[in-house]
Symmetry: C2
Subunit: 208 residues, 2 copies
């Protein structure tokens, strides 16, 4: 029995060549391909795919939400992210949304096929870089979702204690500007625009 596959990918060329590639293999059955995932829930319910290949960046609903839609509509469907992003934040959001695999678009076709087999077999195909990031996120005791560096975590901890940039610099024996530099990087990673927001997020999400 062939593996039923659906593709969500807004790049027409890529989507079509992927579909062609899969159709050319007897063990796969293309159940549909779409350039957006606005109706992902319905599609999943109607066509009952075994595997969904999901891009992240699409007009309308993002692929991240697409994962959620598919998994809510049909949990037994395996969703593999297939994207150019190795962005830490997006990666984690996809995993939280229930993605079963995460392959970068640089993945050669035969590896993609292997990934599909792997996910069907109950595995979680991941590009090496991704796998590394995922493991790293666990080996730290905390939930370092935002991939802060050790130094940044130190700085964040001091920030939470209410320290000013100047105090942080003194405490860590680094320059005022370096401390501010770390702070700026932290804000970027946490997706916030001020120390206050950073503290709120850090304490709220148990980052430290």
């Amino acid at each position: 029995m062939p593996i039923r596959i659906i593709i969500f990918e807004d790049n027409d060329k890529l989507r079509e060549s992927l579909a062609y590639l899969l159709k050319s293999q007897p063990e796969y059955e293309m159940a549909g391909d779409y350039n957006n995932c606005n109706d992902a829930a319905t599609i999943a319910r109607v066509y009952k795919p075994d595997v969904v290949l999901m891009d992240i960046d699409m007009p309308g609903e993002s692929g991240i939400n697409g994962v959620r839609l598919v998994k809510e509509a049909r949990p037994q469907t395996s969703v593999i992210m297939y994207t150019v992003f190795e962005d830490d934040e997006k990666l984690f959001q996809c995993l939280c949304a229930g993605a079963n695999g995460y392959l970068l678009k640089q993945t050669p076709p035969q590896k993609l096929f292997e990934g599909i087999q792997e996910v069907i077999a109950g595995g979680s195909p991941m590009s090496p870089i991704i796998a590394r990031k995922v493991l790293n996120s666990f080996q730290h005791g905390k939930s370092n979702k935002y991939f802060l560096t050790p130094r940044e975590i130190e700085v964040l901890q001091l920030l939470i204690k209410g320290y000013s940039a100047k105090m942080i610099a003194a405490d860590l024996k680094i320059t005022f500007d370096t401390a501010r530099s770390h702070l700026k990087n932290i804000y970027q990673k946490l997706h916030v625009n001020s120390g206050k927001e950073a503290i709120g997020k850090a304490l709220g999400e148990h980052i430290v």
Copy 2:
């Protein structure tokens, strides 16, 4: 059997006249009077007072710590704070340290005598203003130790969400300056010097 009393009060004049006043009543026995409470623990253990009158502002150990020392050394001794402060923060610290009563120095002598009788009878003499504050601190659901006004709590909640003064003003439909005014008052009450510290304290102590 007379009530054994010890006084800790750094103002010599006040301390001596208090001692004189108490000694003149047959039902009281002055077991000692001190201008500091550095040896409060030892004194309590040795002289086994029934009641301690404790000032707050003293050189060396503060009266707040004095309460702790006495109560740890001899829990059955009743400690009555006798002070000019109706400061919210100090009040709460004293209560947390185990004070059994809190009388303002404006209390007339006969009320002081009543307070001593009351604390011996297992009561908790408090000047009216103090009693009010204590009750108020409980009627709010949270642990509003710092006696923030309702408006200030609103502002603090927004601050914790990472809002800037400008955003808080917009949200509450008040002026930028008013928002900043509230923030300044909050910082004073929380004993902090910045929004970041305030957030840390508020989240850490479950104020909101």
